[in-house]
C-alpha cells in the first residue's frame, strides 16, 4: 500500500508530463531560437564540465584511493560535499570566492582582468562543482577494486610511472571512468541552483535548459514542457544505456 503510494509519487508526475506534452507543437518549439540556444549552451557547458571533471577528477580519485586515515577522510568529505550540499549554497559559495570582492575573484580581476561570475565560464564552473563528485566517487571505487598486480607486472616489464598509468591503469579503469563520466554529465546537464546563483540567467550565455524551463513555465508553458521532455528522454537513455553496469553491480 505504502509502496504503491511511493511508486505513484514517481510515476504520476512523469505521466503528467507526457500526457500534457504539446506533441503536435513540440517540433515547432524545438525550432524556437530560445530553445535551441538553451539546448546548445546546455550541451556545451555540460560537456565542458565533464571534460574538466575528467582531467581534475581522475588524479583526485587516485589520491583518494591511495591514501588512508584521517587525511583521506577529510579529503573524501570535501570532495563529496557538493553531492549533499544544496546547489544554491554551492552557487553562493562560488560567488563569494570568485565574485568581485571574493578571495580569488579580486585577485583574478586585479592581476588578469578576469571576471568569472555571470559568464559562460561561471556556468561551466558551477556545473563542474556540483557534478565532479559523481566522477570522483566512481573512479575511486574502480581504483579500489583494481587488481594492482597489473600495474606491478607492467613495472616489472620496465614501464615507468607514466606508461603504467596511460597503458595499464587508465584502460583497466575505463568502465569506471565511463560510468562516472556519464553520471557526471547527467548531473551537469540538469544543474540549476548553483548555475543560476553564480552565473545568472543570460540567454545565450548562461541560460541553460533547466533555467530556461523554469522561466518559460510562466511565459510559454509549451516550451517548458518540451524542454522538460528532452531532459527526460536523455535521463531515460542514460538509464537504459547503463542498466547493465548498474543492475549488474547490485
Amino acid at each position: 500500500m505504502l509502496a504503491g503510494l511511493g511508486l505513484l509519487l514517481f510515476v504520476l508526475p512523469l505521466a503528467g508530463l507526457i500526457i500534457q506534452a504539446p506533441w503536435n507543437q513540440a517540433l515547432g518549439e524545438l525550432a524556437d531560437p530560445t530553445t535551441t540556444t538553451a539546448l546548445g549552451l546546455s550541451i556545451f557547458c555540460s560537456l565542458t564540465a565533464t571534460a574538466i571533471a575528467l582531467v581534475l577528477g581522475i588524479p583526485l580519485a587516485m589520491i583518494l584511493a591511495r591514501t588512508r586515515g584521517t587525511l583521506r577522510n577529510v579529503l573524501r568529505a570535501l570532495t563529496t560535499l557538493p553531492m549533499v550540499l544544496p546547489p544554491v549554497v554551492g552557487g553562493v559559495a562560488l560567488l563569494l570566492a570568485f565574485g568581485r570582492h571574493g578571495v580569488a575573484g579580486s585577485f583574478l580581476r586585479q592581476w588578469f582582468g578576469i571576471q568569472i561570475p555571470f559568464t559562460t565560464a561561471a556556468a561551466v564552473m558551477a556545473e563542474t562543482f556540483v557534478a565532479m563528485p559523481f566522477l570522483v566517487i566512481a573512479v575511486e571505487a574502480g581504483l579500489r577494486s583494481l587488481d594492482h598486480r597489473y600495474e606491478e607486472a607492467a613495472r616489472s616489464l620496465g614501464a615507468g610511472y607514466w606508461r603504467v598509468f596511460t597503458r595499464v591503469t587508465l584502460p583497466l579503469l575505463r568502465p569506471a571512468i565511463v560510468s562516472g563520466a556519464v553520471l557526471c554529465w547527467a548531473r551537469a546537464l540538469g544543474e540549476f541552483g548553483a548555475t543560476i546563483t553564480f552565473a545568472g540567467n543570460f540567454p545565450g550565455r548562461t541560460q541553460t535548459v533547466p533555467i530556461a524551463v523554469y522561466l518559460a513555465l510562466e511565459s510559454n508553458p509549451d516550451a517548458a514542457i518540451t524542454l522538460s521532455l528532452i531532459l527526460l528522454v536523455v535521463s531515460v537513455a542514460i538509464l537504459v544505456g547503463m542498466r547493465d553496469r548498474w543492475l549488474g553491480a547490485l
Binding site: D147, R149, Y150, E152, A153, A154, R155, S156, L157, G158, A159, G160, R163, V164, R167, V168, P171, L172, R174
Partner: protein
C-alpha cells in the same frame, strides 16, 4: 652474473629474514608452506615491497638500506611471473609480449614479440585476448612476456599451482625448456615439492620467515629438517635427543636406532619401513608401539596408513595387506620398526 640477497621484511607479527646466493644459469627454488613468506621475499627482490637489507644483482646494488639505495622495479631488469599469469586483459597476446619491449623502447617490438610466440608454438594465438586462452597457454604467454624483456633475474611465483593437474606436466616441460635456455638468475617460489624438485637445481626451505634448510633436491628430501619437508618427501620425521643406541622422543617414547650419537637429532623413518600387525608380534624387535588407525590414503596399489599413538607414524602397505589386516579408521594396530631402518642425523 649472480644474485646476492639478504632480505628482511617486518610485518605486524611476522618477520622474514632470508639470505640467498644464486648463480646465473642456476634455478633456485624457495620452498615452504603457505604463509612462510615466500611471496613477500619475491616481491622484495622485485622492488615492489619495502625491505631492509641488501640485494645485489650482477654487481649492481638494487637495494641497500644502509646506503639508502632503492632501484625502482621498472629499472631492476627483474622479470616477474605471477601465479595466475596477470596478463593485461585489454591487450592481445602479442601486445602483452610487446609491452615490455615497447617500455624498453626497442625497435620492431611487434616483430620480436611474434618471434617469441612462434618459437613457443603459440603463433596462432597472437591476436587472441588473454581471457580466451586456456590456463596453460596464459601461463606460457606470461613467461614469454617476462623473458622477452631479457631480464637478468627471473622471478617465478608458484608458476604451476594455479593450473589444472592435466596441463601442469605440459607447462612444466615448457618451463624447464625455457628456464634452461635463459642465461640469467632464476628464482622460483613454490609450496609444491614436485614443482621444486622438477625445476630447481637447488632448494631453500623457508618456514615462518626463516631458512630451515638449503641443498640440492636430493639432499633436502634425504635429510629433511622440518615437518613440512618430511611431509613433502613422504617420510616420517621425528625429533628427539639421542643417547647412543636410542633417541628419546616427546611423551616418554623411545626410539631404538643404530649409532644415534648424542644431542638433539632428527630421525627419519620411511613409511615402507613401518610394519603393521593386528596383534602384538613375537620376536624381539625393539621398536614396538600400539596405535590406532587415523586414516587411510589410497595411492595406486599402495596405501598410506596414518597411525595415531605414542609415536605417530605413517606406514605404507599394499592393498592386499590392508584388506588382510582390516585397516580402517579406528582399527587398533601394532607398529614395528627395525632399528636399522631408522636414520638419525644432528638437528
Amino acid at each position: 652474473m649472480t644474485l646476492e640477497a639478504a632480505v628482511r621484511v617486518k610485518r605486524d607479527a611476522f618477520t622474514l629474514d632470508v639470505s640467498l646466493s644464486v648463480a646465473a644459469g642456476e634455478t633456485l627454488a624457495v620452498l615452504g608452506p603457505n604463509g612462510a613468506g615466500k611471496t613477500t621475499l619475491l616481491r622484495a627482490l622485485a622492488g615492489l615491497d619495502e625491505m631492509e637489507g641488501r640485494v645485489v644483482l650482477d654487481g649492481t646494488v638494487l637495494e641497500d638500506t644502509n646506503a639508502r639505495v632503492h632501484v625502482p622495479t621498472e629499472r631492476r631488469r627483474a622479470g616477474l611471473v605471477f601465479q595466475d599469469h596477470v596478463l593485461f586483459p585489454h591487450l592481445s597476446v602479442i601486445e602483452n609480449i610487446a609491452f615490455g619491449l615497447r617500455a624498453q623502447r626497442r625497435p620492431h617490438a611487434t616483430a620480436m614479440a611474434r618471434r617469441w610466440l612462434d618459437d613457443a608454438g603459440l603463433g596462432d594465438r597472437a591476436e587472441s585476448m588473454p581471457k580466451s586462452l586456456s590456463g596453460g597457454q596464459a601461463q606460457r604467454v606470461a613467461l614469454l612476456r617476462a623473458l622477452a624483456t631479457e631480464p637478468k633475474l627471473l622471478l617465478l611465483d608458484e608458476p604451476l599451482s594455479a593450473l589444472d593437474v592435466s596441463v601442469r606436466a605440459e607447462v612444466r616441460r615448457e618451463l624447464t625448456r625455457q628456464l634452461s635456455s635463459f642465461q640469467g638468475v632464476r628464482v622460483l617460489v613454490t609450496h609444491d615439492p614436485l614443482e621444486a624438485m622438477a625445476l630447481a637445481d637447488r632448494i631453500v626451505v623457508v618456514e615462518r620467515g626463516s631458512v630451515v634448510q638449503t641443498g640440492t633436491p636430493d639432499e633436502v628430501t634425504a635429510r629433511p629438517r622440518s615437518r613440512f619437508v618430511a611431509d613433502l618427501a613422504g617420510v616420517n620425521l621425528l625429533r628427539g635427543r639421542a643417547h647412543g643406541d636410542h633417541v628419546a622422543l616427546a611423551g616418554n617414547a623411545s626410539l631404538a636406532a643404530l649409532d644415534a650419537g648424542s644431542g638433539d637429532v632428527f630421525a627419519v623413518i620411511h613409511p615402507r619401513a613401518v610394519a603393521l600387525y593386528r596383534s602384538k608380534p613375537d620376536g624381539t624387535p625393539r621398536n614396538v608401539w600400539r596405535g590406532e588407525v587415523e586414516g587411510v590414503d589410497l595411492q595406486g596399489d599402495r596405501v598410506r596408513v596414518r597411525v595415531h599413538g605414542p609415536v605417530p607414524l605413517v606406514a605404507e602397505v599394499t592393498r592386499g595387506a590392508m584388506q588382510e589386516l582390516g585397516l580402517s579408521a579406528g582399527a587398533s594396530v601394532w607398529l614395528v620398526v627395525k632399528a636399522t631402518e631408522v636414520s638419525v642425523y644432528p638437528a
